[in-house]
Structures are given as C-alpha cells and as structure tokens.
Symmetry: C2
Subunit: 473 residues, 2 copies
C-alpha cells in the first residue's frame, strides 16, 4: 500500500477558476517529475480539505486529468499518477480548458436536457432507423440561431479580393476558441479556413506529399482520409490501433505523414494516453514525420472538458484539423487547419492554384454563431442530448471506447459475426455499420458501429431493444 | 457575284417570338444542307420585307447566327452561309435562346447603364488599378439582393441526409435556365451541383482518369484546369489555339479528355466556329474522348444572346461546366456539371468517398436568386456595365478576341515585349497580366490580358490612358 502524496505543490489564486488551476499545476508536477508514475494522490475529499475548496472543484480537476491520461485508477480506490515520460519531448501545457456546462457522466437527468422533439428523421418512410456514425442531429439546430447566422451573412458584402486563408475575423475568433477549448496557443497566421477535415487534409497532402510518399492512416480508420491521401499519390500505410488509439511502438520510421485521431480514435473510440502522445511527438521529431491530428468530434465528451489538442504539445510537428461537421452540421462545410505559418502559407498558395476556396457567406455565418455564443450553446445542448442517447446504448453488451462522440462500437461475443448481426438488424429495420468498412486490409476485430447523432432518443431506445437479442452470446 | 437565296424555307408562327424562329429555321436549313456553304442570304431588309416582319427582328436573328458561326461576311456587304459540315454528326439544335435585355454592341449609352458607384476596390491603398482577368465586380452586387438570398437560405433547415448531387430545387431551376440560355435540353438527373468549374473538373477527373491518361488543355489556356488534371495523375497535353479557339485538325487521337472553352476561349477570346464544333464532336465520337466544355463567362456577350452550348450538339460526348463565379461572385462557390446521368451518378459516388460537398445554404441562396429573377437582373445590369468598360479598352491598339467576357487581350506591335510593357504599366500603377502565364510550354504569342470585371469605369478609363503610350509601336 502506497502512501498518498500530501505535499502537492498546489497554490491557488482565489480570483481565478480553481479547478483549472489545480489541473494545470498537477499536470506541471507530472511533466516536471515532481510527481512520479505510480504515486498515489490525496483523495478528492482530502485534497479539497487541504486546499480549502469544495470537493466538486477537486473532483472536476481530477476528472479532467483522468481524461487527459495523467492519472490512473478509480476515484473510490485511490488515484495514481499514470506512467508518462516527463520532459521528453518538452511538453507545452498551456492553461487548462475552462468550460461551463460540463456534463459529468451519470449526472444527465431528463429534466436537464432539452426535451427531444420527435424528429421526422428518426426513421425514413419505411420506419427504418439508420444509425450512421458521424452524422449529427440536424433537427437539434435551433431554427432561430440558423436564421440569425445567415441573416448576418447576408449583410456582409462579398469581397472582390477575399483573403485566401479565410476571413480574418473568423481566424481571430478561432484563436480564442482553440485556446479556450483545446489549450492550443496560436495566432491567426497559424489558421487556414477549410471546408472540413477532408478538405484540410487534401490541401496538406497536395503541399507535403510527392507521388510514392508513404502516409500512415490508423487501421481501422477513417476511409475518406485514406482516399484523400491515395489521390494525392501517396502509398497508404495501415498503422495498427488498439483500445487506446494508434500503437506508437509499431510506427514505421519512413512515413512522410501520419493521420491520427488522438482525442477519440475513429472508429474504435480510444483516447490516446499521455505516454503515447509523448512517444508520438518524439517519434515525429526523430523521423521528420508530420502528424495530422483530426479532432473531428472533440466537443462531445460526456465526462470532462474537451482534451488539450495533441498539437498543443508540439505545434511544429503536429498539424491540427478541426471541423463544424460534427458539432453543428456537415451541410455548413466549414473547418480549420492549424499549422506553422510557413506551412499555412504554402497550402494557401497551393489551393489558389486550383481555385479552391471556402464560400465567404459560410465563414460570416460561422463568425456570427461563434461571437454570439450560439455555437457553444448549441454544443452544450447537443452534449446533453447525445449523452442521454449514449447512455441507452451503453446498456448493450460489448461496448468499447471512450465516453465521447456520437457513436459507439460494439464487439461481439465469440461465435457471432458482425455481418450476420448487421443483416439481422437490417431485417428488423435498424441500419448499422460493420467495422470492416473502416479497414484497409483484413480486419483484426469484428464488431458494429452505431451512430446516434441523427437518431432521437426514442429511436435509440427502440433500436437498442431490437438489437439486444441479436447481441446475446 | 453570287445571287441571293430568296427561297428560304422560313415559315413563321406569329404567336411565338419571331427572331428565334428565324434563327432556328435558318440553322436547320444549314445543317440539313438546304443552304450550302458560301451561299448568299437575302439582306436583312429584303428578308424582312419577304417575311413581313420588322427589320429589327431579322437583324437580331442574323446577329445570333453570326455569333454562333453559321453565317459569315458583313451586314453591309452581304451575308453568306459559313463553311459548316452538314449532318456530321447529327446536330441537335433546340429552340434558340430567347432573352430580354440584349445589349447590341454600340448601343450602350451612359444613360442606359447603372451609374457606376465609385468603388473602394478600384484601387488599393497605393492607388493601384489591378486589372485581374476573371474577377467580377463585387460592388455591383445589389446589397438588397444579397441580403434577401441569405435571409431565405437561413429559413431552410439543414438536412440530415442532403442529396449528394445537390438540392433538387436548384437542379430543377438549372434545367430551365440551361434550356433557355444555352439551348441545353437536360433533366435534373443530368446535373451535379459543384462549387465551380475547378471543382467540377476535379470530380470528373477523379472519375474518368487513370494515372498516365493523356488530357488535353487549350494552349494557351486556364492554368487551374491544367493543375487539376495534373493532380488527378494525367499527362497534360497542350492543344494549340488560334484566334477562333482550339485547332481541331491538330488534336491527337489518344486523349482521354479535352478541356476546352468554346464560347469564349480563355484567355484569347475566340468563339469556336460551327464547323470546328462539328469537327470536335465528330472527333470525340471517333476517338472516345470526353470533351469538357467550360462555359465560365457565357452570360457576358455584348452582341447577341449567350451561345448554345457545345454540349447541346451532343450531350453524350460533352460534359458541360457552368459557374456563378463570373456572373455573380467567386465567393459564392457554386457551379454545375451537366453530363449523362450515369456519369453524374459515378462522380457523385466518388465525391462522397472524400466527403466532398457544396454547402447547403449556398445552394438555397442560389435558388432564391434564380427563382426571384434577381440573378438575371444582376447579369443584365453587369452586362451593361461591363460593355461600357469594354468599349473603353476596345480603343486600345491590338485588341483580339470576341465581344464577350470580362477581359480583353492585346497583342503588341513588333519590337515591344509584354513583360516590358507590364513592368512599365506596373510602375504607373496598373497591374496587368502577360499572356505567358496561360501557357504550359513556350508561348507562341506575346501580349497582355486586361481584366475589367473588378475595375469601375473611371478606373478603366484611367488605366487605358496610362497604357496607351506604352502600346505605341
């Protein structure tokens, strides 16, 4: 039995958010080696008493550090420092994300959430429920918010000479948003407005890759990323993923680029632990590989705030891709690429050579939704709503992955094949994806991906009831 | 001296537009061989008297046939049937385009045109005048029209499952627009909504081309088209252009695809004559080449109505690309591809593999501008405005090309180099392009391209005054 560290170097400024200070200082203590792997922390009750703050504050700070992978163990049975490698490479940890409207798991009650409207999109005319991963809830978008955004866009006259990197106002807003929500400290010159993740990856690939270059993609992973890289002339190299995310030990040394989803591995749902994040960045430094971080649904975490971006660790080797496709809707067609200014300039110039652009009114509408706070309110409402749907599916057997996003993955009991289950589900009117579609090569797992973004709670409940008998061993 | 054909088989239905009937029946007479190359037609006065219609009607019909290339000669000295190849291949000639607001050359008077506002975009802060080809007049867009379009877009809720070919309402509107303005008779299933010409070409290339395929591009031609095809893995083959457009006799037989601008060759300004159009389509039939018709600025003709599309001749071998980038603004990011439904389906499926889409609100805004008539009113206003600017530049020596579009090309007198003139113009505060940037290989012409789309009349006048001394032999 280890003794708890009671000499934690936490000094609080009462005028600033307390949980964020605790999070930041404990992170620093780990990265600087003051706290060592395996050390036990004070319990939340003890630390709260020591610091003279409410226990909620400490619980929130610990939850964030758990989610980011700095801590291990369970709240009930003791909290331990995870095995991270301090100081290799130098870890830049900006102030932790502060966020209101956090929804700890298990605290979602129907009374807190927006009552779900009965959506015509729950089912199509045949009464089917299509559980497509990656599709958000279009009907959850407040019509008044949508109207205001486009009304504003209509008041902005079109430019003769639009800025090819995207509207300066939008990039300035994203500077603040990324710092607050992802601990990414960048300037507007680091940001290129894109139409979304695929579009950002296309621009990056056109600039970075030469025909025959090897580009890594998680296996299983996002098929569109593979396709974009293939079209850019790259040889796509599958990189194995386990329940935590990409397996850094196995990465080959000759990749020009690695596409990865550290916040929420797509589709399996792993959250890349801090030690692997450090290993990944060190590997990229050593091999000269560019890491592409796709943070497609980082807004939707149901336990803690969004995680700091991998790019916050080492912005020189990580290019970050964000999108509004999951947090809002793919029909908006807006996203961002964050990278070194020189790289952003090269991608911008390259995009101009093929007249590639993001419609200006789309950018104005997004500015309006960010500056008015409407986008963050929308994300909070959706987070509540998705959490409720998710909790229904968590009752199904075989769920793997992290408490995030808009889909769950089910592994099947021995003897059941995903194709058979999907086919039987289809016969019952429930459309689900089998995992094999996310593999470039032969699948090493058999399972199902169930998207709940576009299916209202009633549909999710019905689908769960129909699927449960099919998932029994 | 030839005698005029006085037995023309023109029979008029007084209840329908007269000029369009004359145009259509004379076209039919040429394609069916009733009228032969070199035959002289009645003068406009004689034919008007024969048919019992006003001379204006016949003049308008002849002007359209001149523009389309069916007739040759001058109104004053006799009108002759051009050398076209009847019936090879079967030419589908739908009813000619009917349009109000036509602006015959020379009829543009200041009092008819919208007074140009003094635009802050005429010059940048240094007082420079940037005559960029291909940039339309952003300040010419009526703020009320723009506001209404986006306000409408905001009232349309985002779809969960958007149609990957584009909004059905928009495609239905384009069916009517293309029939009326381009004599293109298609259904909504022939139409894919794109973000513009480059985007349409990208989708087509991804679907049609295999690495190493040879793809022809006009030389000189549109650099972005070359770049798009190169990125799709094609070997880009320069295809020589003369003052009429692409030289069909010289086209190699082993192209998979030919990108061409028959309505208004970019940048030289030629209008592809009927005989070459027929030869082009016959060549494509024989060799299995897909012709890509880029109709980027077909709305801006200052003599006659927009020409029938090449695709109207043989929609099976021609894929048509249209855009709002010139007629409205490139910041909208909307265009269309018209092709056989099977091809459109394949391109659509292929675009979905890389999450390629056109923002839905952009499509709704365009629907509003088309159905309200605002887009056509805008085009008419811009046509008047551009015609006035154009007429200023027509006074400069060395202008070549057709009376269309938003730029002119100047050939230089012997002994003057375009680079020297451009450099001297730059020193005087006038930015112009040299023709060499439109060539893949060594240029066979030396000249300048002057865009007047984004420069108000006052700026065009000032630029013309500054350029004139530099253009003297």
């Amino acid at each position: 039995m280890t003794t708890s560290r009671s000499d934690l170097p936490v000094v609080l400024d009462r005028a600033r958010p307390l949980a964020a200070q605790i999070t930041g200082q404990l992170r620093d203590a780990v990265t600087s080696g003051v706290l060592l792997a395996g050390e036990r922390l004070l319990s939340t009750r003890e630390l709260a008493a020591t610091l003279g703050v409410s226990r909620t504050v400490v619980t929130s700070a610990y939850a964030q550090l758990f989610a980011e992978g700095w801590l291990e163990g369970r709240h009930g049975s003791g909290t331990y420092v995870a095995d991270v490698t301090p100081g290799l490479p130098p870890v830049r940890v900006p102030p932790g994300p502060a966020r209101s409207g956090r929804v700890p798991a298990g605290q979602v009650r129907p009374s807190q959430a927006t009552p779900p409207s009965v959506s015509p999109l729950e089912t199509d005319k045949d009464g089917r429920i299509e559980m497509l991963p990656g599709v958000p809830w279009a009907d959850g978008i407040d019509p008044a918010m949508w109207r205001r955004a486009w009304r504003y866009a209509g008041t902005r006259p079109p430019s003769s000479w639009p800025d090819a990197c995207g509207l300066r106002e939008l990039r300035a807003e994203l500077v603040t948003y990324l710092r607050r929500s992802r601990a990414l400290t960048v300037t507007a010159d680091h940001i290129l407005i894109t139409r979304g993740v695929s579009n950002g990856l296309t621009g990056l690939a056109a600039t970075l890759l030469s025909p025959g270059d090897r580009a890594g993609v998680e296996e299983p992973g996002y098929p569109a990323a593979r396709e974009v890289l293939r079209r850019a002339g790259a040889e796509v190299v599958p990189c194995r993923v386990d329940e935590h995310g990409v397996v850094t030990d196995e990465l080959p040394d000759d990749l020009r680029l690695l596409y990865t989803t550290p916040a929420h591995q797509y589709p399996l749902g792993g959250r890349l632990p801090v030690a692997r994040r450090q290993a990944l960045v060190a590997w990229a430094r050593r091999t000269g590989t560019v890491i592409v971080e796709d943070d497609y649904d980082g807004e939707f975490r149901y336990d803690v705030a969004p995680l700091p971006a991998l790019a916050a660790m080492d912005p020189e080797v990580v290019v970050y891709l964000g999108t509004t496709s999951k947090m809002l809707t793919p029909v908006l067609g807006a996203g961002w690429l964050v990278g070194a200014p020189g790289l952003v300039d090269r991608i911008t110039a390259d995009r101009q050579r093929i007249s590639e652009r993001v419609p200006e009114p789309v950018q104005h509408a997004l500015v309006q939704m960010i500056t008015s706070g409407a986008l963050e309110r929308h994300v909070r409402r959706m987070r509540l709503e998705y959490a409720r749907r998710r909790s229904v599916l968590m009752g199904l057997p075989g769920v793997i992955g992290d408490t995030a996003g808009m889909h769950v993955v089910l592994e099947l009991p021995p003897g059941r094949s995903a194709a058979e289950v999907a086919s039987a589900a289809c016969d019952l009117g429930v459309g689900v994806f089998t995992l094999d579609r996310y593999y470039a090569g032969p699948p090493n797992r058999d399972g199902l991906a169930l998207g709940y973004g576009a299916v209202p709670l009633t549909g999710v409940r019905r689908a769960a009831g129909l699927l449960r008998p099919l998932l029994a061993p």
